[in-house]
């Protein structure tokens, strides 16, 4: 349809103009159906000094939603900005508030990364929900001026044997692969957890990382009066409109389709072209400001660009290219159609901008221009339908100090320890029992081999992937000349956080920090995705408040700033919330990725000494072993951030100085799982003994194998480096104990005096679980 035909169609609407709103103050508006509360609607009326037009109501309702405004969490999130030392600010080029934070890598390089949730769309339509999660986070990275270089995806599903889990996991994994693979972005890691608390509300979080030169950093603001505003990429359609049908009262046209999918539909090809096209725009310095269109679509892009810039913008909405010409102005403003970007272009660059669009065959339309009036004016065929101060839409939304209180059941939960419970009776103690327990653990849903998932993702494209799942962190080379690169790990433990939100969140941070350090990188910055239940439930609100307090306190101690992230609330099935799940993504830096440390030993490491760093306590509460026995209670493992820092320093130095060839952090599943995973990594056996460890730390063999005490890692040290390595650990007064040696000839994991576990048997059990359930 030509633009002229489209415009004729659009004129059929009976517009609710600003002039009309001023003279019809009593018109009933569907604010409640759009999700606004009475007090919020009253506030809109107060801000405008009149009732909003239908289009204005659409904008405020979506921009003041929990998702866009963070109205329940903002009070608490401030701590991420407040608890920051000068040292932590040193490398932060762009902090919280932009599309994604930017961290300095040195030599003129910068890195931007962010993690976001796409939980509810994935429950409804797993393939498109997960796919557009990748699409959205990648556009955030492009809008900063960066080339996206990798993605990761922490996933949480319901019980592995529940029939609906197969529907969700097949769709979500295929969606992430289908979209990410088509963008040419390696998927370098993530997580996979099965727990019935996520049955009605799976968690699909998506992380993207991008790199750029300092001078290429772009911000979302519209500056320079007279600069032009352009919308480009895919056309705007009716997908992703929440509650759009109620706006149909705007229209005279009875024949228009009224029910539209609330889940967006992704087109990865359009996004891939958009990436290349944007990077060419950046290279030619052809845009003054840029913003991706995600949640809240044009409402969000126009109001944020305008309020972050010189304060004014005027656009003509009939200029928007549509997939569906029957869309109303309110629907156009709220549509979350994917693969769209909005940019501000100075008049002298218009020609070059259009040439770039034409080269990549990307559609675009000029919508209007930047003004200095401080008003965002949106017109429909020349008539004003929106006239607002953009700040009131984008930044001055409602703010709630929701009541929160420690749940009354928390004490009883913490008192119910694993070893005092029925599930904790008759623990394995003989060698045969310990062996069977380790095999069972390694085959359990959360500990089993994930390659059924990761093999559906391209981990090689780009040629810069130095480590990927199942290693502790994903590692990407940034500079091919120097080998400089970044490491990324994401971690969370919903069970720990359920038992103790403050420390549980810190444990997520500690594990992500440890994973990055284990790979050999220096931890630098954090992005977090806080997945919680309803903030209107005071128990959940307490979990959220405690988790944010814990995370921000720990970030300060570890010296890693939060540079961005996302809060996802209302994750629950009926009135039952998910476990509080703060997913922490840690970014680290390598001077040279050649120094990276893989998570297992190869055959040529035969004879290398295996050391355990750190102290093992009797900490089984909330563990994976307790989980396979069906128990959740007690207190999670102790947090010791000082020990994490020292351990990190040892691992990083040992990697840099060539003292270790492989390393693996101890987390879920404890030492038993770590040794099993290291041996299976390249299929090479080892002989270890637990006697020295048990004697030093006062624990039995079962506890030594399955306790989930923190700040621990296993390393493989070449014989020639043993003295130097021991000296370094001793100098830092960090506990270290020699466990045994790599044994390339054995093809088994032998725990002397306990058991000899054939690696084929272990591998079979480890790899069979996901295919058994999902084919």
């Amino acid at each position: 349809m030509s633009a002229a035909e489209q415009s004729t169609q659009q004129k059929k609407f009976n517009m609710d103009t600003v002039a009309n709103a001023a003279v019809t103050p009593d018109t009933e508006l569907p604010w409640a159906e759009l999700g606004l509360k009475q007090n919020e609607f009253d506030e809109v009326v107060k801000v405008l000094g009149r009732r909003p037009t239908a289009a204005e109501l659409a904008m405020y309702s979506v921009m003041w939603s929990e998702h866009c405004s963070y109205k329940s969490s903002k009070n608490h999130l401030r701590q991420f900005g407040d608890k920051v030392s000068e040292e932590m600010k040193k490398d932060m080029l762009v902090g919280i508030g932009e599309n994604a934070g930017v961290t300095n890598l040195g030599d003129g390089w910068a890195v931007t990364f962010k993690i976001e949730s796409h939980n509810s769309p994935t429950m409804i339509e797993p393939y498109q929900g997960a796919a557009t999660g990748i699409g959205g986070i990648v556009r955030d990275i492009i809008s900063m001026g960066a080339r996206p270089v990798a993605v990761m995806d922490p996933l949480r599903f319901g019980a592995i044997d529940h029939p609906d889990t197969a529907r969700v996991i097949h769709g979500a994994v295929a969606g992430i692969g289908g979209y990410g693979n088509s963008l040419g972005l390696p998927n370098i890691g993530g997580e996979m957890v099965f727990d019935s608390v996520y049955q009605g509300n799976p968690l699909v979080n998506a992380l993207a990382v991008g790199v750029m030169r300092h001078e290429d950093i772009r911000l979302a603001n519209a500056s320079g009066k007279g600069n032009k505003v352009v919308l480009f990429g895919a056309r705007t359609g009716g997908d992703g409109i929440g509650g759009a049908s109620i706006l149909s009262s705007e229209s005279f046209d009875d024949t228009k389709p009224s029910k539209r999918p609330a889940v967006q539909v992704g087109d990865p090809f359009a996004e891939k072209v958009l990436i290349e096209c944007c990077l060419e725009l950046f290279k030619g310095s052809l845009v003054e400001g840029i913003q991706d269109l995600g949640a809240a679509g044009i409402s969000c892009a126009t109001s944020e660009l305008a309020s972050n810039g010189d304060g004014g913008m005027e656009v003509e909405l009939t200029s928007v290219l549509l997939r569906d010409p029957t869309l109303t102005p309110g629907e156009i403003l709220m549509s979350e159609s994917q693969e769209r970007m909005m940019a501000v272009v100075s008049p002298e660059n218009i020609e070059a901008f259009e040439a770039t669009m034409d080269k990549w065959a990307v559609e675009y339309s000029w919508l209007g221009e930047v003004t200095d009036t401080g008003r965002l004016i949106i017109k429909w065929d020349g008539e004003v339908i929106v006239d607002v101060d953009p700040r009131t839409v984008a930044h001055d939304g409602p703010l709630y100090d929701r009541p929160y209180a420690r749940p009354e059941w928390q004490d009883a939960l913490q008192a119910d320890t694993f070893k005092s419970s029925e599930a904790g009776a008759n623990l394995p103690s003989t060698g045969a029992e310990l062996k069977a327990a380790l095999v069972e653990l390694m085959a359990s849903p959360n500990m089993c081999d994930k390659s059924w998932i990761t093999n559906q993702y391209d981990r090689y494209v780009g040629g810069n992937t130095a480590l990927a799942s199942p290693d502790d962190a994903g590692v990407i080379r940034v500079d091919e000349k120097t080998g400089m690169g970044v490491a990324l790990a994401t971690d969370a433990n919903g069970r720990y956080t359920f038992l103790d939100p403050y420390h549980g969140a810190q444990l997520a941070l500690a594990e992500a920090y440890r994973n990055v350090a284990t790979s050999g990188a220096v931890p630098m910055a954090v992005s977090d995705c806080l997945n919680f239940g309803s903030p209107e439930d005071s128990d959940v609100m307490w979990q959220l408040a405690e988790a944010i307090r814990g995370l921000s306190d720990a970030c300060l101690v570890l010296g890693v700033p939060v540079t961005g992230g996302n809060v996802s609330l209302y994750n629950q099935t009926g009135s039952t919330p998910i476990h509080p799940t703060p997913v922490v993504a840690m970014l680290g830096k390598f001077d040279d990725v050649d120094r990276r440390t893989p998570s297992g030993w190869r055959a040529d490491a035969d004879g290398q000494a295996l050391y355990l760093l750190g102290t093992t306590f009797d900490e089984l509460d909330g563990s994976e072993f307790a989980n396979i026995r069906g128990h959740l209670g007690g207190l999670p493992p102790k947090v010791d951030l000082a020990a994490e820092k020292t351990l990190g320093a040892i691992l990083i130095n040992a990697s840099r100085d060539g003292m270790i060839d492989s390393a693996h952090d101890l987390s879920e599943g404890g030492l038993g799982a770590a040794l099993g995973e290291m041996a299976l990594r390249f299929g090479v056996g080892a002989r270890v003994a637990l006697d020295d460890l048990c004697e030093r730390d006062g624990v039995d063999a079962f506890t030594a194998l399955f306790s989930e005490s923190q700040a621990r890692a296993v390393v493989a040290v070449p014989r020639s480096e043993e003295v130097r390595f021991n000296d370094m650990a001793t100098a830092r007064q960090f506990p270290v104990v020699r466990l045994g040696v790599v044994d390339a000839a054995s093809n088994s994991l032998e725990v002397q005096g306990q058991f000899d576990l054939d690696l084929n048997e272990l591998r079979e059990a480890h790899e069979a679980t996901l295919p058994k359930y999902f084919g």
């Binding site: 030169r213 290429d216 090809f269 359009a270 891939k272 559906q456 090689y460 494209v461 040629g463 091919e480």
Partner: protein, 251 residues
Amino acid sequence: MSATELPLIGDYSTPAAALSGARIGVVTFPGTLDDRDAARAIRMAGAEAVSLWHGDADLSNVDAVVIPGGFSYGDYLRAGAIARFAPMMSKIVDAANSDAKLPVLGICNGFQILTESHLLPGSMIKNDHLKFLCRDQVLRVENNTTAWSNQYAQGEEITIVLKNQDGQYVADEKTLDALEAEGRVAFSYVGWNPNGSRRNIAGITNAAGNVVGLMPHPEHAVEAGFGPDHTGTDGLGFFTSVLTHLVGGQK
């Protein structure tokens, strides 16, 4: 690339000491993903990588062409079906069929484009297990006389990266018999057939040996630390093969 320049757009500059001075084109379509990897592999083999844009109709005097993997035009309609109509493809088809017999390597989506362009017989359909699969794959070199395989030993087993959704090679029985009889199966899968391809075919060549298509990705296995199992470099032989071919004439 200079140390201060971000490779926002594929960087195809030449190292100072290109061994043969050969120029090898890398075609980029909308949706091509592995063009930068292919260019890197060409540079690591010692040649100059030349960027070729699908919409242009000028081969820029290249000595050989790589059509890299990806999802040209989103694989919409059918993998490679739209790309074959690009002006650049007409030039490539003509040059490959000419007396000069321009060496052409199609990888993954590039292989699909070559079959759609009728430079090679057969076609690719969805993997028999219906999923995208990424893994380190062992191949056997079945024909080491092509422009792209002459640096391997006949029967040599190599490990490179396999990653595809539509990788199941199919053709009618007569064509398959002919391919095998004429030694035109250039590479085959070893151990496990990862996509249900007929006769375990991973890659084929035309009769003249200048056009080769294969599903797995040699360009992801050229640099130690970034290839299969983070160590493998078995794919480099494809690119040194074509340089040898260009220097010494057809083997």
